[in-house]
């Protein structure tokens, strides 16, 4: 029973607005580790329970039949030892695939420090595997998760990566060879529990994509569930905006041809609160704009705020049969509210727009937002009547002529 859809299917959305597609459960909430950020750490006094593999299988099948879920996401606390835990996980997914004949999606966590043969076997039953990076840097890991080591985490990650590559060759040679982790691997890390900058985090993510060939990196805003003096107090709630900006940047890395270095730098290590990373990049690179919609290449189009992968593709297709206007762009799904500052159609801009940092920022951000968030992260300033002394410099003759004939 069961199949998988390439795009994935969301089956519900929980009250925090996140998609519920998998039955996401822990095999056990017992744990021998004492990670400071985790509710199930050894030193917490909470009720503990462990599933049997059969219970998990029965629950998955019954939920799946009713179309509640798309598959199983199996994680676990560490019971007795990493290898013992991994064996439990492996037994569960093996049972689910063989005895219960489940063909849906299975995502299993690989437990760092577990026997590599067990991880390999599990990989043949699962669609996707992931090893949690937990925290972006080794230093943070030492401080908050004293039982976990960076090296232990990266070893199974590398093992799964090489496993996938080898398996591709096997499958090419023998069509019916069993597939190893066909859905690729992912990882996740906690944002805001330690003091890393966005720049560091984004570099870590870029490295993971390039060196470990990960499918996805997940960022989760830190939620303080334990009282511990090592953990930061978050009076404003979890850093959700920061998480959101990181996901936006993550998409730019994977689908838009940006690199981490372009978006942030040592000197500007954090994202702008008011502008999304793409707008922010565009504002700092006004020399690349405006882009002519009817002529620009796809890389150029992808860099325009308000044009996504889909609309760029549609523009390329549609302009073969017609000269596109702003009205057409709206139909194609371009967000003109953002794009109009950066594009021309047949050489004309939509409105007489000034290509000027301050002007564009003021129009891109809404006033209320600016007041709510303060001027935090905003490097551009608001013009007032009282800084007219800034504008008393001599206007060159070229500028005067351009103003007179209405050129930009």
């Amino acid at each position: 029973m069961g199949n998988c859809a390439a795009s994935g299917i969301c089956h519900s959305f929980s009250a925090d607005g996140r998609c519920i597609s998998l039955l996401k459960i822990l095999m056990t909430n017992e744990c021998i580790y004492d990670c400071k950020y985790c509710l199930n750490r050894r030193s917490n006094d909470i009720p503990r329970a462990t599933f049997t593999p059969e219970e998990i299988c029965e629950l998955t099948i019954q939920f799946y039949r009713r179309n509640y879920i798309e598959g199983l996401f199996l994680s676990s606390g560490i019971i007795e030892s990493p290898t013992f835990t991994m064996e439990l996980l492996c037994r569960t997914v093996c049972l689910l695939r063989t005895k219960y004949g489940f063909g849906g999606y299975i995502h299993v966590k690989a437990i760092p420090g577990a026997d590599s043969e067990l991880i390999r076997q599990t990989g043949f039953w699962a669609d996707r595997m992931s090893v949690n990076l937990e925290l972006p840097t080794a230093e943070g890991l030492r401080r908050l998760a004293p039982n976990k080591h960076r090296k232990n985490i990266l070893t199974p990650m590398r093992q799964i990566q090489t496993g996938i590559v080898q398996n591709k060759d096997e499958v090419a040679l023998y069509k019916h060879a069993p597939q190893f982790v066909p859905g690729g691997q992912s990882t996740q890390m906690i944002i805001g529990a330690t003091g890393e900058s966005d720049y560091q985090i984004l570099n870590v993510a870029e490295n993971l994509y390039q060196k470990f060939a990960l499918k996805r990196v997940f960022y989760s805003a830190f939620v303080r569930v334990n009282q511990d003096d090592q953990l930061p107090a978050l009076p404003g709630g979890p850093p959700l905006l920061r998480e959101h900006r990181l996901y936006q940047a993550d998409w730019l890395l994977r689908f838009y041809g940006f690199s981490a270095e372009e978006l942030l730098s040592e000197k500007r290590p954090f994202f702008n609160v008011l502008l999304d990373p793409k707008e922010d990049w565009a504002i700092r690179h006004l020399e690349c704009f405006p882009v002519e919609i009817n002529r620009a290449g796809s890389e150029q189009l992808l860099r325009v705020p308000g044009i996504g992968v889909n609309s760029a593709r549609r523009i390329l297709a549609a302009r073969r049969s017609a000269n596109l206007t702003f009205e057409d762009l709206k139909k194609l799904g371009v967000v003109l509210k953002r794009a109009l500052f950066f594009i021309t159609c047949s050489g004309k801009m939509m409105y007489p727009v000034r290509l000027d940092e301050d002007y564009i920022v003021r129009h891109l951000t809404e006033k209320e937002e600016r007041i709510r968030l303060g001027s935090d992260g905003m490097t551009y300033w608001q013009m007032t009547l009282f800084d007219d002394d800034l504008y008393t410099c001599e206007v060159p003759a070229v500028e005067q002529r351009r103003t007179a004939v209405g050129e930009l």
Binding site: M1, G2, N3, A5, S7, I9, C10, H11, S12, F13, S14, A15, D16, G17, R18, C19, I20, S21, L23, K24, L59, Q62, F63, R65, R66, N67, Y68, E70, A221, V223, G237, P238, L240, R314, A317, A318, R320, S321, A322, L324, T325, D328, K331, L332
Partner: protein
């Protein structure tokens, strides 16, 4: 102007398209209509659906524009819109005349008719993607899975292959409350559609364990939400209220009879 009045079905509309080409009519001078409304200077001709003709159109579409674009056409034709036939016909005619290649049927988005067909197709596909996830089955006493829903467009023929592929070993029924059509999938046999079926709440006897699994899933959905991140508005954006009507996690645990008509 000649008007082809065709039946509101994939077969009916494809047959009309076939007739226009077979009779070598000037393509600008023909309009496809699903209703009986006649405009000035128009003559109406009825067009009965014919399986062989529609099959030929289907094969041509797949050969010229590929499987993906053919599916898009099917999505557009499942829409609940009186002008869909004309929009799709114009799109196909344009694609054939200008000899668009595989996967390029909807390229000329600047054309209003093509854009209309594209929009219809996209809307239906979006609803289809939602329903694939949001449809909920209940287990009845004789091991039959039963789901009811109330889609805006005619989704049953699209959903049936998806669920037949997913649950080949199950007996299941999906019931469209608005159109009163049921699709029945007997275990291991060909599924079929049943028009004019009536499903009264009083005829549904749920299995003994059904209530337990409902409660388990409701618990799961409650606990998976993180309180610190609560965001009902985001939830509502992604899962609008009208889609929640038949969903397990949004109904209370008693099986309240839902007799209100759906429009």
């Amino acid at each position: 102007m000649l008007v082809y009045r065709c039946e509101d079905s994939l077969e009916g509309i494809f047959t009309a398209v076939y007739r226009i080409y077979a009779e070598r009519l000037p393509r600008e001078q023909v309009r496809l209509a699903l209703d009986d409304e006649v405009r000035l200077f128009e003559t109406v001709q009825r067009c009965e659906p014919d399986a062989a003709c529609s099959e030929k159109v289907m094969r041509t579409l797949i050969r010229r524009f590929g499987q993906k674009d053919y599916e898009r056409v099917c999505f557009a034709l499942a829409a609940d819109d009186p002008d869909k036939a004309q929009a799709v016909y114009r799109t196909i005619a344009l694609g054939l005349t200008l000899q668009y290649g595989n996967g390029h049927l909807f390229d000329a988005l600047a054309d209003p008719e093509v854009h209309k067909a594209f929009q219809l197709s996209r809307n239906v596909e979006r609803e289809f993607c939602h329903l694939r996830g949001f449809l909920r089955f209940e287990e009845l006493a004789d091991d039959i899975l039963y789901a009811q829903f109330c889609p805006k467009n005619h989704q049953l023929p699209l959903l049936l292959p998806h669920f037949a592929d997913r649950f080949p070993e199950e007996n299941f029924i999906i019931y469209d409350v608005k159109r009163e059509i049921a699709s029945v999938h007997p275990q291991g046999k060909e599924p079929f559609l049943l028009h004019g079926a009536e499903m009264g709440e009083e005829r549904l006897h749920r299995s003994a364990r059904e209530a337990d699994y409902r409660a388990l899933f409701q618990d799961f959905c409650r606990h998976i939400a993180i309180d610190e991140r609560r965001n009902p508005k985001l939830q509502q954006n992604l899962l609008p209220l009208h889609l929640r009507r038949f969903m397990t996690e949004f109904s209370d645990s008693t099986h309240a009879a839902d007799e209100t008509q759906c429009h």
